[in-house]
Symmetry: C2
Subunit: 183 residues, 2 copies
DNA sequence: GTCTATACCACGATAGAC
DNA sequence: GTCTATCGTGGTATAGAC
């Protein structure tokens, strides 16, 4: 449900920022808009977040933590291709449900890649691939292929680039083909 | 070579904008910065471009035209998998050489997808896949898989998400696997 | 911990002189 | 076709009263 246990202001601020960024997009996020959503003045926020970058950073941490948690949860006790498949679908689901937070994971200046969870996510994927594979060689290229496909699909779909015809099941087909290729 | 046969100033402005956006990124592009690069005042630009959106639009047109031309050129008289491969590599090369323009092709609000060339690019890909395939069914899913992989790889690579280890040949491997899967 | 007030900056855009 | 001057907006951030 909610990101974290709610204490006082800092979390309320983060929640308001999250709400704005997910419902109105990144350009709408400013110290002013967050403050307005809380019925407060922008200058008040600086008591709780040193500057705008600190707010972005907190959102980045939230993104990385949430995605890692959801992928681990989806993986559960699964193993082999089923594990990888479940994790990939959890990744796509997160990106669809929280497109703005997802940008912090994958976008150029993303505030999430300084988070330790980002590294953990990468290792989780590498591990899942290793469990599918019979060989013991470096699985980095395989992980790159999988990640590239997922991210590309998510981005283009979210941008509406597949047009009226839609992707026509390409996600499932591509994912199945890639995971199968690992075994 | 050049986008249009226009007179003098409009193209000089477009060139200056292109230079800024490719060398300093999108945030650095403003009517002021373009004007400064030309040794002129910002207000002067409005004689040649009605507003900022018109400038963006011109860049979008440039992006779509350039990419289409380079993909057609790469395809040449090739056929079968070789044709598809050459086009895919031309796509990647364009994205690498002109990362800012590429964003107009693939990014959410991209100013290029209203261009007729964008449709032409899509059809070019669909046609190339059809030439690889023995079946006559709808190749939309295949095109979506290919495009997703290419775009995802380009984006994550440009964002430095592959880290110090690098992609380790994943582009070539993934592309080969996908194209092979079409035959 | 929030308020008012303010400073500073950069942006897009227009009016009117030259 | 470019200039100066100016306007309005909206962003980050600080100082100091309450």
């Amino acid at each position: 449900m909610m990101p974290y246990p709610q204490k006082t202001e800092p979390l309320a601020i983060l929640a308001a920022a999250l709400d704005i960024v997910e419902n109105q997009g990144w350009p709408a996020l400013s110290m002013r808009s967050v403050a307005a959503a809380l019925g407060v003045r922008a200058s008040s926020l600086y008591r709780h977040y040193a500057d705008r970058a600190a707010l972005d950073s907190a959102l980045g941490a939230l993104a990385a933590k949430t995605l890692l948690r959801e992928m681990e949860s989806a993986a559960g006790r699964l193993d082999g291709p089923a594990r990888l498949d479940a994790m990939a679908l959890a990744y796509v689901r997160f990106a669809r449900n929280s497109p703005a937070l997802y940008q912090l994971i994958a976008a150029p200046g993303g505030a999430a890649d300084s988070q330790p969870e980002s590294k953990a996510i990468w290792n989780l994927i590498l591990d899942a691939i290793a469990r599918c594979s019979k060989t013991r060689r470096d699985h980095t290229p395989a992980a790159v292929v999988l990640w590239s496909f997922l991210h590309g699909y998510i981005s283009l779909d979210a941008a509406g680039k597949f047009g009226a015809s839609g992707p026509k099941g390409a996600l499932e087909k591509g994912l199945a083909a890639i995971v199968k290729g690992f075994a």
